[in-house]
């Protein structure tokens, strides 16, 4: 297998020193995390690495040496080789780079279990006119002219230690090095990889043997955060170069907010516990109150927001990525919601618009009632040229007209108080735009209560007619519905049963158009109201569940949510191994929304279109926007 070295971009220009990182088991790859500079005391380095291993949980080791000689400094070849004896490893990497050149060179020293050094040269020299990088790879006779032992010829390739390095040396009848292992340098930007989260997020603890390479690389860099605290300007035992060695990043605002957040969280949690205990007290839990509060969407939204706030304000820090994202999304959603609500309130109360709104409410209700009366008069006559049954028509029409009259009287009774009620209730829109929308939905429901009542009456009447008709039709044909077997059976009726049944059937059949027409008209009205309420509920749902924080991250810091990586081949010089640049491939926008949606009480219609049509035809009552009691993700 090819040896892959993940090299951070920040260390490209680092001074010579030791490479610290981790070998990834099973993949023949190494992740370089930092460079420790000379001068150092090997004992202190070993101690420091041991300490870091404990703190971070990552299997850190010294991978090898890095040499970038400055002008005037001669090469330290033998010194670097001797270093490998101080830090006994299975494989020791010797990376070197010359000033003015872009490409790196890599030597790999291997130790077999006896501690004997077998050097394998991985350096690719340009060979005259040899085929470089052509098909088949025969041209790599790097052993020619190379100094040092041509240990590769021995072909043992025993790699000591526990590292399962791939690629034994096979001597396939070629002289010199034989089938050489090759090296790939993969450059990565350390800060971005450290902050990024690879999707799909693995919630459990993965098995390190079967896990694929990229999650391991990302995980290694992420977990090695304790390693990046000391850098080369500190007075510590070791001087290192990594992404933070140019100075630790920080923002005063973020630090202040972190300090302030704990007491604020505690205070908010205390207030919330008071509120929840108040809500669940005995007084407010009487049956009628519970029934009303389950029907009003404002109360539902209130309870929902309380729950959200409890999640956000819990004093424990979120460790898992999903938990953190959920908290952040809820917080940002809530913040945006409240600010939009405050904007709305300030706009509505500025020129006493709310007073004007209240003043138009009663005339609007009057207008609706008048329209309904006209509609009923039309139905009582000859609507659309249809001929109705005069008696039934008059009964139903008068019945509904009386209802409207009652309703208007109640509205006029309430009219002096409406402005005040609206004024105070409108203030609750300060809690958020979602509350304003739920309030609007509730007010609509209350004001159109008479339409709802008419719909129920019409539907029940029609339903009874249809069931009666179907049952009597069965009697007409000599059949009966068997309740036990849930099927239609034949039955012999007596003569008088048949006679009465036929009479009733005829009566119902001729009354059907009248009831059907009333039902149709009121169902249409009810559907209009339901559509309006549905739109409001959907938008409340949308505001509740849309992950604004994740969206913001995706737009402005796209490297933090990674779907994968992409590689780019860097131009290199002849004679150096392959250099690749690893960039982060950000998550697609649709996946962001799907992964990070806050679960809500979904308000989607629970019946399909077909079921809805069937219910309408049969006259069953429809409640398409029923709130579900369990959360839907």
């Amino acid at each position: 297998m090819v040896l892959k070295i993940f090299f951070p971009q920040c260390c490209n220009k680092a001074d010579s020193g030791l490479l610290v990182g981790r070998w990834i088991p099973g993949q023949n790859s190494a992740v370089v995390l930092a460079v420790i500079h000379y001068p150092f005391i090997p004992g202190q380095v070993k101690q420091y690495i041991h300490q870091m291993r404990g703190q971070s949980g990552v299997d850190l080791t010294v991978l090898g040496s890095w040499s970038m000689p400055k002008e005037g400094q001669e090469g330290m070849e033998s010194f670097l080789r001797d270093l490998s004896t101080i830090f006994p490893q299975g494989q020791w990497l010797q990376l070197s780079r010359e000033m003015g050149k872009i490409g790196f060179r890599c030597h790999v020293l291997t130790r077999d279990p006896n501690g004997k050094l077998i050097q394998q040269e991985k350096e690719l020299k340009e060979d005259g006119g040899g085929e470089k990088g052509g098909k088949g790879g025969e041209g790599k006779k790097g052993g020619k002219g190379g100094e040092g032992e041509k240990g590769g010829k021995g072909g043992e390739g025993k790699k000591g230690g526990t590292k399962k390095g791939g690629g034994e040396n096979k001597v396939e009848g070629e002289e010199g090095g034989g089938e050489k292992d090759k090296v790939i340098f993969i450059h990565y930007e350390q800060r971005k990889v450290m902050l990024s989260q690879l999707h799909p997020v693995d919630n459990g603890v993965p098995d390190p043997q079967t896990e694929s390479q990229l999650p391991q690389v990302f995980g290694t860099v992420c977990q090695s955060e304790p390693l990046f605290f000391l850098d080369k300007y500190d007075d510590g035992p070791v001087k290192m170069t990594h992404w933070q060695s140019e100075g630790r990043e920080g923002s005063i605002i973020v630090e202040l907010m972190k300090q302030a957040s704990t007491p604020v969280c505690l205070l908010t949690t205390w207030i919330l516990t008071l509120w929840t205990s108040l809500c669940s007290s005995r007084i407010l839990n009487v049956r009628p109150m519970r029934f009303i509060s389950s029907k009003l969407s404002t109360c539902l939204q209130l309870s929902y927001r309380t729950e959200h706030l409890q999640t956000v304000c819990s004093p424990t820090r979120a460790t898992a990525h999903n938990h953190f994202m959920r908290k952040a999304n809820i917080f940002v959603s809530f913040f945006v919601d409240v600010s939009l609500g405050l904007l709305l309130v300030s706009w509505m109360y500025r020129e006493n618009r709310i007073g004007k709104l209240a003043n138009t409410l009663v005339p609007a209700a009057d207008h609706v009632a008048k329209e309904l009366e006209e509609l009923l008069q039309w139905l009582m006559g000859a609507p659309a040229g249809l001929k109705m049954n005069r008696a039934l028509d008059q009964v139903l029409g008068r019945f509904f007209l009386y209802h409207i009259h009652l309703w208007i009287s109640y509205i006029h009774l309430m009219s002096p108080f409406i402005e005040m009620i609206l004024w105070y209730v409108g203030l609750s829109a300060c809690l958020g735009l979602t509350f304003a929308l739920s309030l609007l939905s509730d007010i609509t429901a209350l004001l159109t209560f008479h339409i709802y009542c008419f719909y129920v009456y019409g539907a029940r009447l029609y339903c009874m007619t249809v069931y009666g008709l179907s049952s009597l039709w069965r009697l007409f044909r000599g059949k009966k519905w068997n309740v036990l077997r849930q099927r239609v059976d034949s039955c012999s009726y007596d003569l008088d049963q048949l006679f009465i049944g036929t009479l009733l059937f005829t009566i119902l059949l001729f009354l059907l158009p009248t009831t059907a027409l009333y039902y149709l008209v009121f169902t249409l009205l009810r559907l209009v109201v339901v559509m309006f309420q549905g739109v409001l509920h959907l938008s409340v749902d949308f505001i509740n569940s849309f992950p604004l924080f994740a969206m913001g991250l995706r737009l402005f810091r796209s490297y933090r949510l990674a779907e994968g990586v992409k590689f780019r081949v860097l131009c290199e010089e002849p004679g150096t191994p392959l250099h690749l640049m690893m960039d982060i491939n950000p998550l697609k926008v649709s996946s962001v929304v799907q992964t990070y949606r806050t679960p809500t009480y979904s308000c989607y219609p629970k019946d399909s279109w077909l079921a809805l049509c069937k219910k309408l035809f049969l006259g069953e009552l429809i409640y398409p926007w029923r709130h579900k009691t369990t959360k839907i993700d």
Partner: protein, 204 residues
């Protein structure tokens, strides 16, 4: 070619896609185990763009002549602009690239006419094999009442695809990732790419 890569552009044979339009294949070998193949389709042709634009605007003028409503003209302009932007950003693929790095993985990327690139990287551990598959390509859906016409309407095409391993069963194939979907090169082009890829897969 100053950096030592070897570059093979169009050789003696010209490649076409399954509809007969000319495409070009470029193979770049960065090292012994890293190769890049780029298949470029035909660019957006000026003639077609002008034809569509003229058709839309002519019909808009006719409707304006009939209805005397200027909103028709402005909506035609907006429709043309939006349609063109959507087409070059989401629909028209300029070239597709396959970058195969031995023992690391395979990267598949499509580059659209507006410059947008959509990339996908598959790790070597997940790849079972790269093969050429056959498929029946339905040009038009037609009921096969008349047998002659039904045969003409379907063609057998070849496509290159990556077989992915099933994580639970290493011998089974869990899914297939087809390559070069927009450019749809013919078999001669595919065979060239296939042979190169198999060399690298065999080495690692």
């Amino acid at each position: 070619m100053q950096n030592g890569d070897q570059h093979y552009s169009m050789e003696d044979e010209t490649y076409t896609d399954i509809d007969g339009k000319a495409i070009s294949l470029e193979c770049q070998s960065h090292s012994g185990f890293c190769r890049e193949f780029t298949v470029s389709s035909a660019k957006v042709s000026i003639g077609r763009v002008m034809a569509y634009t003229c058709a839309v605007w002519l019909s808009a003028y006719i409707i304006f002549f009939v209805t005397e409503n200027t909103a028709v003209l402005s909506s035609a302009i907006i429709i043309t602009l939006v349609g063109m932007m959507v087409h070059i950003h989401f629909v028209k693929v300029d070239h597709e690239t396959l970058l195969i790095i031995g023992s690391l993985g395979v990267q598949v990327s499509s580059s659209y006419a507006s410059g947008r690139e959509s990339t996908d990287f598959i790790e070597m551990g997940k790849i079972k094999d790269i093969v050429i598959n056959e498929a029946i390509h339905m040009v038009r859906k037609i009921k096969d009442i008349v047998i002659n016409e039904a045969i003409h309407m379907q063609t057998v095409i070849y496509y290159l695809c990556i077989l992915l391993k099933d994580p639970s069963d290493p011998e089974a194939v869990s899914s297939v990732v087809p390559l070069f979907q927009s450019s749809k090169p013919r078999l001669n082009c595919l065979v060239k790419v296939y042979k190169s890829c198999q060399e690298i897969l065999a080495k690692c």
